[in-house]
């Protein structure tokens, strides 16, 4: 036993030493690229605009996109154009929903060279900035992003500012979403419901009753695990962190006050509404266990459900589900606001491991100015993957369909750049971009666009609150419990998890921001 201990110590210490040595190596390679702001001298492109003075460079770009058979081909086409413009080639890496988040963290932590990455606010963007993973882009934008500035709504460039510096380039698209309903058009027509008459969610209740009484096989209102709560309150309040943590503020023109979102009038109202609908049998009984509502929606067994709406949403969903749908906002005649979260839900960043950030910025710039490159990225190669059926609309190329296309299924809104450059799919309405521009004009940016909450002081509390959110708040949104009976329990759990500390810390942060921008 004695000898063994000594040997054990010996082994452990050798291990530690060798690890330290090894990690010493890793340290060097991680910090080799610039510290924060300094731009490496490999690029003198700031002054010279001609590509003749630019050295060739390979841009490693990581996007949220599915694996495509023809990725190499598309990459080659893009590079032909890219070489001419900025003497660079791009190396596209696609991770899809199942492992993007995981891979992102591992790739960033392991210090490998990454030039461009998709990092939206709902996937840890703030965290990465707080941990200094992304570079500040202010100077880079000024020098190499002229087309970006021209082609993007100004509010977008205020949103990803943290501690005074810009850390991402958002995608130009819909600047907000409205909470609303999607209805089965057939049933709407059958009973002559007037969609335009909806001013608030309660208005559809008589319709739900009609459906329940007259259509036995149809679910009046489908709630997938309580999702309607988030959609119906989103026009009124905003979470500062993830959706599980009920800390945030109400949308308003006035001063921003950080509060416990479960106690707002609107939250209570919708919880009670859900509860009453559940008791009356309008909501599907398996609301708690339903994780994927798609099959039953596709089977046309549902009358209504909630979604985040934007122009053309019902058309998009029609393509997905295969029958006619109509949409209607849940709230009428209210002021819509754009918040930071809306503007940062799709954006590209340049990590600190990039060896030529200026070149990376130039590539992003191209995505705002160069229609050819943007559409190659979004849709593939003309003639091979799609064909044009009108000036701005496309359809599958001949002989190509969803199953055999070598470049299909991407989320165009996640590919960065300006979506207004994208071609429109045949099933969408030709004036979608026009409508979207109008839609964007309606909303007002809130006073605190440009403020994001850095929760590193309270990260333990945030973690604890997230669990409470997932375990205890859920039943409320599923309509399984009465708010008044049930909430006091939740409140005490929230308090134990430190919600007041988070609220105070957050309010401080807001006040600082407001006073610094005055």
């Amino acid at each position: 036993m004695f000898k063994m201990k000594k040997l054990a110590c010996f082994i452990v210490s050798t291990t530690l030493v060798s690890c330290l040595l090894l990690s010493g190596c890793s340290k060097n390679t991680t910090t080799e690229p610039n510290d924060s702001n300094s731009i490496p001298n490999s690029n003198s492109s700031g002054e010279d605009s001609g590509n003749s003075t630019l050295e060739p460079y390979e841009i490693d770009a990581y996007f949220l996109a599915p694996q495509c058979k023809d990725l190499d081909l598309v990459e080659a086409e893009i590079n032909k154009l890219l070489k001419e413009k900025i003497n660079a080639t791009v190396n596209l890496n696609y991770y899809w929903w199942d492992n993007y988040q995981q891979r992102q963290q591992l790739d960033v932590t392991s210090g490998k060279k990454i030039d461009i990455m998709f990092s939206p606010s709902w996937w840890g963007f703030n965290d990465y900035v707080a941990k200094e993973a992304w570079l500040p882009l202010d100077e880079l934008l000024e020098e190499n992003g002229k087309d970006i500035i021209e082609n993007i709504a100004p509010a977008y460039l205020k949103a990803p500012i943290i501690n005074g510096k810009l850390y991402a380039i958002p995608t130009g698209k819909d600047m907000y979403g409205t909470g609303g309903f999607i209805f089965n058009k057939e049933l709407v027509d059958k009973y002559d419901f007037d969609i335009n008459s909806i001013t608030q969610p309660e208005d559809i209740e008589p319709w739900l009753k009609t459906i329940k009484d007259n259509e036995p096989g149809i679910i009046p209102f489908l709630s997938t695990n309580g999702d309607q709560q988030a959609y119906l309150v989103q026009d009124w309040q905003v979470n500062v962190g993830t959706i599980d943590v009920p800390v945030g503020y109400e949308k308003t023109d006035g001063d921003v006050e950080i509060i416990n979102l479960l106690e707002t009038d609107i939250s209570k109202r919708i919880y009670n509404l859900t509860r009453s609908w559940y008791k009356k049998g309008y909501i599907n009984k398996d609301v708690a266990t339903l994780q994927d509502g798609t099959p039953i929606k596709k089977a046309k067994k549902v009358f209504a459900w909630t979604e985040q709406l934007k122009p053309g949403k019902a058309d998009e969903l029609k393509a997905q589900y295969g029958y006619d749908l109509v949409q209607a906002n849940a709230w009428k005649d209210i002021q819509y606001y754009t918040t930071t979260l809306d503007l940062t839900n799709s954006q590209l960043v340049i990590p600190r491991t990039s060896k030529d950030p200026a070149r990376a910025m130039m590539f992003i710039n191209e995505l705002f100015a160069n229609k050819e490159i943007k559409n190659l990225l979004s849709w593939g190669i003309e003639g091979k993957h799609y064909k044009k059926i009108s000036d701005n609309q496309i359809d599958f190329a001949d002989g190509v369909n969803a199953d055999n296309s070598g470049y299909y299924g991407l989320a165009q809104w996640a590919m960065g750049g300006s979506q207004f450059l994208d071609y429109l799919w045949v099933s969408e309405s030709p004036d979608k971009w026009q409508k979207m521009k109008e839609f964007n004009e309606i909303a007002k940016p809130m006073k605190i666009v440009g403020w994001t909450y850095d929760s590193s002081n309270v990260k333990s509390e945030m973690a604890a609150l997230a669990t409470v959110g997932q375990n205890q708040v859920e039943p409320l949104s599923q309509g399984l419990v009465d708010y008044d009976e049930y909430y006091p329990n939740v409140k005490s759990s929230l308090e134990k998890a430190g919600i007041q500390k988070v609220i105070d810390d957050c309010q401080n942060s807001v006040d600082e921001f407001i006073s610094s921008t005055k």
Partner: protein, 306 residues
């Protein structure tokens, strides 16, 4: 007469026919509880998705549809390729796992080996303490450069404290020192003893480790998620996992706005998941019967008693 005499010792040592019957009944009932779910899964996988949404699971689907399988097999080449990759990693991995496990466990079981406790603790410790995903990932991708390399799928599960300790236990009990001593006296080298005596006596534990190990390799999708980017090298479970998760995310409320994914219109949901379960099990179901025959009473050299 004579044959009866030889038979008797075995018969005497069997359990009574009534006990046998009772046990058989119990097992049969339990087996139904094991097979029925699988049959149900199969039934669901061939059910039409829409009717599933309305009628729920049933052993007798109201409407049959092979859509799920059509979707899975649509890229037959890819599917076969993933099968191939999986089988390859499975076979190679299991071979080395068994080899190294036996090599490591044997010295641990020798009571004359002074450092046996140290080495036992050395591997057992790994079961308790882990450094975490990130350092391990950095090691593999940065220093060993195993990104997109099949070795990254084979190496991690090779040394497993559980298998080693089970093997060690087996060696300690069932490979008596006296046999080994006899062989040593006869001048055989340690390796020869290992090869010619220990291994043949240990078929049950070899089969056990081989079975567990091949299952571990077969079911893995996580290693693939971490280390393999190139679809050429996807293994079966991961490629199916990927297809399913993509579907999940797109229909979840996490995503602020979904794309015009008309591709979603044709993809079956739950039936797909069930079909994947069936396809994923496929060949490995035969692994158990294959290894089973080694769980028979092992060969023992009668010379022990001497």
């Amino acid at each position: 007469m004579k044959t009866k005499n030889i038979k008797r010792p075995v018969e005497i040592n069997s359990i009574k026919p009534t006990t046998n019957l009772v046990l058989n009944v119990i097992f049969s009932v339990y087996c139904i509880a094991c097979i029925a779910p699988l049959i149900l899964i199969f039934m669901v996988s061939i059910t039409d998705q829409a009717s599933l949404a309305t009628n729920g699971y049933s052993f007798f689907p109201s409407k049959i549809s092979l859509d799920a399988y059509r979707y899975l097999f649509s890229d037959l080449g890819k599917l076969l390729r993933t099968y191939g990759i999986t089988i390859f990693t499975c076979v190679v991995g299991t071979f080395f796992c068994v080899l190294f496990t036996m090599l490591y466990a044997y010295p641990l079981s020798r009571k004359t080996f002074k450092y046996r406790n140290f080495f036992a603790f050395f591997i057992f410790f790994t079961m308790l303490f882990q450094g975490g995903l990130v350092p391990w990932y950095i090691l593999y991708t940065k220093y060993l450069n195993l990104q997109n390399n099949l070795l990254a799928l084979i190496m991690p599960p090779i040394m497993n404290a559980f298998y080693v300790l089970v093997a060690k236990t087996f060696f300690s009990i069932n490979v008596p020192d006296s046999v080994l001593e006899a062989a040593r006296i006869d001048g055989a080298s340690e390796f020869k003893i290992f090869r010619k005596i220990v291994i043949p006596m240990s078929t049950p534990v070899i089969a056990t480790v081989a079975l567990f190990s091949s299952l571990a390799y077969w079911n893995d999708w996580y290693l693939c998620l971490l280390y393999i980017n190139d679809p050429k090298y996807y293994n079966l479970q991961y490629s199916m996992y990927q297809a399913l998760r993509s579907l999940q995310f797109l229909t979840s409320s996490l995503v602020p706005s979904s794309s015009a994914a008309s591709s979603l219109a044709n993809v079956p949901g739950e039936t797909l998941r069930m079909a994947m379960a069936i396809v994923g099990i496929g060949p490995i179901i035969f692994a158990y019967p294959f290894f089973q025959r080694y769980f028979i009473k092992g060969l023992t050299i009668g010379a022990v008693k001497g």
